[in-house]
């Protein structure tokens, strides 16, 4: 295999992986802070896709309809997430793990059928937005500009989130609550508000991923099931609760998916699961997570 084809395979795997990073980052953040594994995170992603479609149809007459959708859809998802957190999730933080899972699973059902009700069952599409259409060629390989845009977005958001967590007051508050909730509470931090905020941020990221994905794919029901499994794999590899872990995990998964089909097509489907099992046995807190 030539270097060029290797590189193009790598790039294409990464572009998808980074969209998954956005979702996994939200999942990891929520777990890290609130110890809740949000099974419905893939569904928030799907809601983001549908809202993106809805907004871009709403603004269809003005130019740059996609950009408006990209602006509003994740906010919409964050709002929905916030409402659900206050109404439902808040009550089960003290409960056993099983109840949290089952409740977030119930959200999958409710949101999924909600989308079915508002949007119907057929799939939707969105065109690639104006300045990002077409492809560039370098080294004899042509590559769609939109995929490169996704890579840039993913890296930018990763850097932004890292900076947010490390250098801002908000980040410090979130980290404090993550490390020691009771102490943070004692110091006057409004912990329930932080929880709601973190959940909304996680949903915002999932919604953003949902809005970025449609131009290169389709908007369809059922996407959440596939996505959530991939996200589990990413956060296990990277470490539950770690942002950089989610990034590394997403890169590794993108790599595995794109090279798996080249090298070992038969086993390619099972590979990610096998890696997940391996990590869970050998180093359950993942590559970047902290041991419990």
């Amino acid at each position: 295999m030539t270097f060029v084809s290797f590189f193009s395979q790598f790039i294409s795997g990464i572009s998808v992986g980074l969209v998954l990073f956005l979702i996994a980052a939200g999942l990891s953040l929520i777990f890290g802070t609130m110890r809740v594994l949000n099974l419905a995170h893939g569904t928030f992603f799907m809601v983001g896709s549908f809202l993106c479609f809805a907004f871009s149809s709403l603004f269809a007459n003005s130019s740059g309809s996609f950009w408006w959708a990209l602006l509003f859809a994740p906010i919409g998802v964050a709002l929905i997430g916030g409402i659900l957190e206050v109404l439902l999730l808040r009550r089960i933080y003290n409960q056993d793990m099983l109840y949290q899972y089952i409740l977030t699973f119930a959200l999958i059902l409710i949101l999924g059928d909600g989308l079915k009700y508002f949007f119907g069952v057929s799939f939707k599409t969105i065109e690639v937005p104006w300045p990002l259409g077409g492809s560039v060629s370098f080294w004899g390989m042509s590559f769609p500009i939109y995929n490169l845009f996704l890579i840039v977005c993913g890296i930018a958001i990763f850097i932004f989130m890292l900076a947010l967590m490390r250098y801002t007051k908000l980040g410090r508050i979130v980290r404090a609550v993550t490390l020691n909730r009771d102490m943070a509470n004692a110091l006057g931090i409004n912990v329930p508000l932080v929880y709601t905020g973190v959940f909304m941020l996680g949903c915002y990221l999932a919604g953003l991923a949902g809005a970025l994905m449609p131009p290169m794919s389709v908007v369809a029901l059922g996407a959440d099931m596939h996505v959530i499994i991939e996200c589990f794999i990413i956060v296990v590899i990277g470490g539950l609760g770690s942002l950089s872990g989610a990034f590394i995990g997403a890169v590794i998964l993108g790599f595995l998916n794109s090279f798996g089909i080249l090298v070992m097509p038969k086993l390619a489907v099972a590979f990610p699961f096998m890696l997940m099992i391996f990590i869970l046995i050998v180093r359950p807190h993942g590559l970047m997570g902290k041991p419990e």
Partner: protein
């Protein structure tokens, strides 16, 4: 006098009751159990099939029904899941007294319902599901198909089309990794290598069923050195996603695309001119209504557009033809009697929306034609389609000898 009066009133009431019962029995509807994918990724096939069937039923009922009895269609969602489809089939027969079963698009569901139909001795007419196994090695007398099958759809028609146009030598295939996908490639290879012996399939790529992200595969195809690529059983939303991604990578400019399913318009309802579509792809289509000069077909297209707001696809046409075939069979048999209807349908020539087609007695398969051509936009239609069509007829199907061999080797 009073006694006589009372008894005559009673007699009158009795006669009225009898009359009503007889009348009700006569008017008891013939129930068609329609199992299809009404939700999920394949739902547009289910919706179009249901609409096509209900147009047929409305027409037939307006003309007095079949043997004086009205037709009734009950639609159930199989969710593209054979377990669910089987459950619905059982329910339709046991609880809803279905007399016939139609529908299904997923071949797995079709096969499951077919085996149920065999056990229950009820006629099943798959109007979308293409698996040729249903009429070949898994054949039983209760199955009839008034539609193409996978041999034609995925295999022989694209192969013949390719051999008659651009005899490419190096082909790479990409398909969904399940039985239909594997069989599709097998049939395509079978026919194409027979017609162009020095051609070769240089690689076979398989993606999980229902994949929507093909970037890695597209890259591999681009670097493969093939002259053309063939899509094995990739349809619906997955096909649209593939097309968008392939278009953005410039794949359609680099090599010839053989996309059998591209001729079916369900995938392109949401595409607008200027958007990505399989440019210049070699495609096959089963209902090129824009090129068919049949007055009944034109009426059907209008009715369908008014009903659904979109143009009809082959799934709608198949179900329409299937219902009319059932009507022809029942009327020829003279009764709603399964064994008589089977005898009546075997060898019967049907008057379908695309002309006269005969049901081959050996495998109960109607010899429905297919057309091929290249994909483009043309005047009058908002979606990309096969503009200039060339027909393929019976040569697209397995011959009786081939089927005999398959059945014997089972």
């Amino acid at each position: 006098m009073k006694k006589r009066f009372v008894s005559s009133v009673l007699a009158l009431i009795a006669v009225l009751c009898l009359g009503v019962t007889v009348h009700a029995a006569e008017k008891k509807p013939i129930v068609i159990g329609h199992i299809h994918s009404m939700s999920g990724a394949l739902s547009m096939y289910g919706i179009s099939s249901e609409a096509g069937g209900s147009i047929a039923i409305e027409e037939i009922n307006a003309a007095g029904g079949i043997l004086g009895r009205p037709l009734k269609m009950i639609t159930r969602d199989d969710k593209a899941n054979p377990e669910v489809g089987l459950r619905e089939a059982k329910d339709l027969v046991i609880s809803e007294n279905a007399d016939f079963l139609t529908g299904t698009v997923s071949s797995a569901v079709g096969m499951a319902v077919s085996s149920f139909a065999k056990k229950e001795k009820i006629i099943f007419m798959p109007s979308n599901a293409q698996s040729s196994r249903m009429t070949e090695d898994e054949f039983h007398p209760y199955i009839f198909r008034i539609a193409t099958n996978s041999v034609v759809y995925w295999g022989y028609a694209p192969a013949i089309a390719l051999a008659n146009t651009k005899k490419v030598k190096k082909i790479i295939s990409l398909g969904w990794e399940y039985e239909t996908g594997k069989t599709a490639l097998k049939q395509f290879k079978e026919k194409y290598l027979e017609m162009v012996p020095d051609a070769q399939i240089i690689d076979e790529l398989w993606a999980p069923l229902g994949t929507t992200d093909y970037t890695a595969y597209i890259n591999k195809i681009k670097n493969s050195g093939a002259d053309a690529f063939y899509l094995a059983a990739v349809y619906g939303g997955g096909e649209l996603a593939f097309t968008k991604q392939a278009d953005s990578f410039g794949l359609y400019d680099q090599m010839l695309a053989i996309q059998p399913c591209a001729g079916d318009i369900e995938s392109w309802y949401t595409v607008t001119k200027g958007g990505p579509f399989p440019k210049a792809a070699l495609a096959t289509t089963r209902y090129p209504f824009w090129a068919i000069d049949n007055p009944r077909s034109k009426v059907f297209v209008e009715k369908y557009k008014n009903k659904v707001g979109q143009y009809p696809s082959y799934g709608a046409m198949n179900h329409y033809n299937t219902i009319y075939a059932l009507k022809a069979g029942i009327e020829k048999a003279g009764a709603v009697d399964t064994e008589k209807i089977i005898k009546a349908l075997e060898g019967l020539t049907l008057d379908t929306l695309i002309g006269k087609v005969q049901i081959r007695a050996y495998d109960h398969q109607a010899m429905m034609p297919t057309w091929y051509g290249t994909m483009d936009y043309a005047e009058g239609l908002p979606f990309p389609h096969v503009v200039k069509v060339t027909p393929i007829g019976e040569e697209g199907y397995h011959t009786i000898e081939q089927i005999k061999k398959l059945r014997e080797s089972k």
